[in-house]
C-alpha cells in the first residue's frame, strides 16, 4: 500500500542554501549555549538545550514551505524557531516563565505554540493538515516529535488518522537516542520510528540527522510528497542529544562518556568542513557568521533581561473568548485584594 516516494537525493542543494543553513545553525548553537548560561545566571527558570540537533532542526525548516505549511514544535525546538525566523523574544517568553507556549504569534510565525506534553501536539498537526486540505489549500503540517514521544498512544493515533483521513503531515522525528534518562533500545521497540510507517501503509524515511543537506533533501521530498498526495510521511532524523535533558538534569547518572562519544562529529563542524572543502565559504565568512550570531544574541539578551513578567491580570485573559461570570468575579476580587495589600 506504500506509495513510492521520490528519491530524496534528487532534491537539489546549492551552496547558498548550505551557507544559509550554516548561519542558522551557528546562531542556534550560540543561542542555545547562551540560554544554558542564562539559566545558570537565574534569567531562565529552566531550559532544554538542543545541542547536537541543529542540523535536524534547521534542515527540517528549510525543507518546508512557510508560506503554506505550519510547524508543530515540542519544547526543544529553538533551532526550528530560529530557522523559521520566529520572534525570539516571544519564543523565550516560554522559557522565561512569562507565558506557557510562548509570546510569539503562532499564526503569523507558522509555528504553533510550544508544547510541553510529550506527543501532545502531534494530533493537532493531523487536524490542521486535514482542515487545510478540506479548504482546498496546500498546507502541510510538520509534527515534531522525539524518540520518546513515539511511545505515546497519541502518536500512533495521529499516524493512523493521518493515513486514513489523508491529512498531509510530515511526522518529523528527532531520534536523539535519549528520552530524558531512557535510551533508545528501552524506549522504541525495533529502535526505529520510521520503521513503523510501513505498518500504516505510508512512507518512512531515515536520514542522517546531523547532515543538514541530507535532512533538507529528505524533508523537502517528504513535504512535497505529502502536499502532492495528501499521504503522510514519517521522516526520522538520527541524531544525538549532546547536552543534558534540561538544565536541571544530570546525565552522569544514566549515561557514560563512551555512549556520548557515539554521537560522532558535531553537525556544525561537519557542515563547516564541507563548506570549506568545496570552497563555498572561507575563514573570514565563518568569522562574520560568528560575529553576526554574537551580535544577535547580545541584542536578544538585552531585551530578555529587560523583559518583565506579564501583569497578573493576564491570568484571567483568554481563558475564554466569552468569560464566565465566575471568572469575572474572581478577576475583580483578585484586583481588589492585590490593591489592598
Amino acid at each position: 500500500m506504500t506509495t513510492p516516494m521520490p528519491d530524496p537525493s534528487g532534491a537539489p542543494v546549492d551552496d547558498d542554501l548550505l551557507r544559509r543553513a550554516y548561519a542558522l545553525m551557528v546562531v542556534t548553537r550560540a543561542l542555545d549555549t547562551s540560554a544554558v548560561t542564562w539559566q545558570r545566571q537565574g534569567l531562565l527558570p529552566a531550559y532544554p538545550p538542543l545541542r547536537g540537533q541543529e542540523a535536524a532542526q534547521v534542515g527540517s525548516v528549510l525543507g518546508a514551505d512557510l508560506t503554506s505549511d505550519l510547524l508543530f514544535p515540542t519544547y526543544r525546538e529553538l533551532g526550528v524557531a530560529v530557522a523559521a525566523d520566529v520572534d525570539l523574544v516571544g519564543y523565550f517568553g516560554n522559557h522565561l516563565g512569562h507565558w506557557n507556549g510562548g509570546l510569539y504569534d503562532p499564526v503569523a510565525s507558522r509555528l504553533a505554540p510550544i508544547q510541553a506534553v510529550v506527543g501532545g501536539s502531534v494530533l493537532h498537526a493531523v487536524g490542521w493538515a486535514l482542515g487545510r486540505a478540506l479548504d482546498g489549500e496546500n498546507g502541510v503540517a510538520v509534527a515534531y516529535l522525539g524518540d520518546g514521544a513515539s511511545s505515546q498512544g497519541d502518536v500512533h493515533e495521529a499516524m493512523n488518522f493521518a493515513a486514513v483521513l489523508e491529512a498531509p503531515v510530515v511526522f518529523f522525528v528527532q531520534n536523539n537516542r535519549w528520552a530524558l534518562s531512557v535510551p533508545l533500545h528501552r524506549q522504541v521497540a525495533g529502535e526505529s520510528v520510521a520503521a513503523r510507517a510501513g505498518g500504516y501503509g505510508i512512507p518512512g524515511l531515515v536520514v542522517d540527522g546531523d547532515d543538514v543537506a541530507a535532512v533538507y533533501r529528505a524533508m523537502r521530498t517528504a513535504v512535497e510528497h505529502a502536499r502532492a498526495t495528501r499521504q503522510p510521511v514519517v521522516l526520522e532524523a538520527m541524531t544525538y542529544r549532546r547536552g543534558p535533558h534540561a538544565t536541571s538534569d544530570d546525565p552522569g547518572r544514566y549515561r557514560s562518556l563512551a555512549d556520548e562519544a557515539t554521537a560522532g562529529a558535531d553537525p556544525i563542524d561537519r557542515l563547516r568542513d564541507r563548506l570549506t572543502a568545496s570552497g563555498a565559504a572561507d575563514e573570514s565568512w565563518f568569522a562574520d557568521v560568528d560575529t553576526d550570531a554574537t551580535g544577535r544574541i547580545d541584542a536578544l539578551h538585552a531585551v530578555l533581561v529587560a523583559s518583565s513578567p506579564r501583569p497578573g491580570a493576564d491570568l484571567f485573559e483568554h481563558v475564554f473568548v466569552h468569560p464566565t461570570p465566575q471568572l469575572t468575579a474572581q478577576h475583580a476580587r483578585w484586583r481588589e485584594e492585590s490593591d489592598r495589600v
Partner: protein, 339 residues
C-alpha cells in the same frame, strides 16, 4: 445566537413535536446549513448516523468532507478537532458514549481547554463535544457515566446538558455558535421522549425554572429534571409545592438563579446521577450554603448516585436517584428541625 431559527421548510409553523434525538439532529443539520465551517465527525456518525441516530442523514446531506467517520480512538478525535479548529473550522465531534470520553481526557483538559489561553486568543477553540451521557438505558459497562463534575472543574471548558427537546435544539445551536469549547452532555435516557420545539429559543444562558413552587427547590439537570418534575407532581398531591430548577449550564453555574430560588424556598435538594463524593452537588451545595447563608431552613440535601462504579443494568435503578429516594430527601429538608 440571534440566528437560531428552525429552517423554514422543516417547521413552517415554527412549532413541531420532536424527540430529543430528532431535535439534536435538526440542530446539527440547521447549524451545518447556516455555517459552512461546521464539521461533524466521530465514530459511526456517517453512514450509520450515530448509534443513537443523532447524526442521521447528515452525511448524505452535507457530504463526506463535512460529516465523516474517524478511526476508533477518542483521543485522536479530540486532538484532530483541536487541529481543525486551529485551521479555522468549527468542529462538532461526537464521543460515542460518556465512558469513552476518558481516553480523550488529556486532549480535552490539556489541549482543547487551553489552546485559546496558551495562544493568547490567537487560536480559539469553537468546538462542541457531544457526549451521549448519563445512565438509565440498561447499557453495558462504561455506557452510563456522569461526567459533569470532571469537566466543570476544567478551566477553559463550558459544560451544558439539556433536559428536553426544545432545549436540546436551542442549546446545541448555542453551543456550536459559542467561540469557546463546550462539552454537551446529552441525557441518553431522554432521547426518545417527545416535546415541543418552538422557534423562539427563550433565554439560553443560565438555569430555568422547570416548575415553580415555594416549599423547597429541587436542583437538577439532564434526565433528572423530568424525574424531579414527577416528584413535584407527587408531592403536590400532599400539598407540598416543590420548585424544580433546571440548571442546564453546569459550567458556568447560574448562581443568581440558585440564590433567587432557594432564597425564596429556603430549602434545597440537589439531585444527580453521579456519585455523591466530589460530585457537582458539592459545588452546588457549597454555593447555595454561601449564597443563602442564614436563610436556609435546612442543610442542603444531595440525592445522588452512590460512591460506586456505575453498575450493570439490573442494578441501575437502585443507583440512579428514583422518585422514592428524592422524596426521602425532600422530607429531610422539610422536616429538618421539627424533631
Amino acid at each position: 445566537m440571534s440566528d437560531t431559527i428552525l429552517e423554514a421548510q422543516r417547521a413552517p409553523t415554527g412549532i413541531r413535536s420532536l424527540s430529543m434525538q430528532q431535535a439534536l439532529n435538526a440542530a446539527l443539520s440547521d447549524a451545518m446549513a447556516l455555517d459552512p465551517r461546521v464539521l461533524v465527525f466521530g465514530e459511526d456518525v456517517g453512514a450509520l448516523g450515530g448509534v443513537f441516530r443523532v447524526t442521521d442523514a447528515l452525511q448524505s446531506r452535507f457530504g463526506e468532507s463535512r460529516v465523516f467517520d474517524t478511526p476508533l480512538a477518542e483521543s485522536g478525535i479530540i486532538g484532530t478537532a483541536v487541529g481543525l479548529a486551529m485551521a479555522g473550522w468549527r468542529p462538532v465531534p461526537e464521543i460515542q458514549f460518556d465512558g469513552f470520553a476518558f481516553p480523550a481526557f488529556d486532549q480535552i483538559v490539556c489541549q482543547l481547554a487551553r489552546m485559546n489561553y496558551r495562544s493568547r486568543g490567537a487560536l480559539p477553540m469553537p468546538v462542541t463535544v457531544r457526549v451521549p451521557s448519563f445512565g438509565g438505558i440498561r447499557a453495558p459497562e462504561h455506557h452510563g457515566e456522569s461526567l459533569e463534575a470532571y469537566f466543570a472543574h476544567v478551566p477553559g471548558l463550558k459544560v451544558v446538558s439539556p433536559s428536553n427537546p426544545h432545549q436540546a435544539y436551542h442549546l446545541l445551536r448555542y453551543a456550536i455558535a459559542e467561540p469557546d469549547p463546550v462539552i454537551f452532555l446529552e441525557p441518553k435516557a431522554r432521547y426518545w421522549n417527545p416535546g415541543e420545539v418552538t422557534q423562539e429559543p427563550g433565554a439560553l444562558e443560565g438555569a430555568v425554572i422547570a416548575r415553580p413552587g415555594r416549599h423547597a427547590t429541587l436542583v437538577a439537570w439532564g434526565a433528572m429534571v423530568a424525574r424531579c418534575c414527577q416528584v413535584a407532581e407527587l408531592a403536590a398531591e400532599d400539598g407540598v409545592e416543590l420548585e424544580v430548577l433546571d440548571l442546564r449550564w453546569l459550567k458556568p453555574i447560574d448562581e443568581p438563579a440558585l440564590a433567587e430560588s432557594i432564597g425564596r424556598t429556603g430549602r434545597a435538594v440537589i439531585v444527580h446521577e453521579a456519585p455523591l463524593s466530589g460530585g457537582l452537588g458539592g459545588e452546588l451545595a457549597a454555593l447555595i450554603s454561601q449564597l443563602c447563608f442564614g436563610r436556609l431552613k435546612a442543610p442542603v440535601e444531595r440525592v445522588t448516585g452512590f460512591d460506586v462504579p456505575y453498575p450493570a443494568g439490573d442494578l441501575e435503578d437502585e443507583h440512579i436517584p428514583d422518585v422514592d429516594r428524592i422524596l426521602f430527601g425532600v422530607r429531610r429538608v422539610l422536616e429538618y428541625g421539627r424533631g
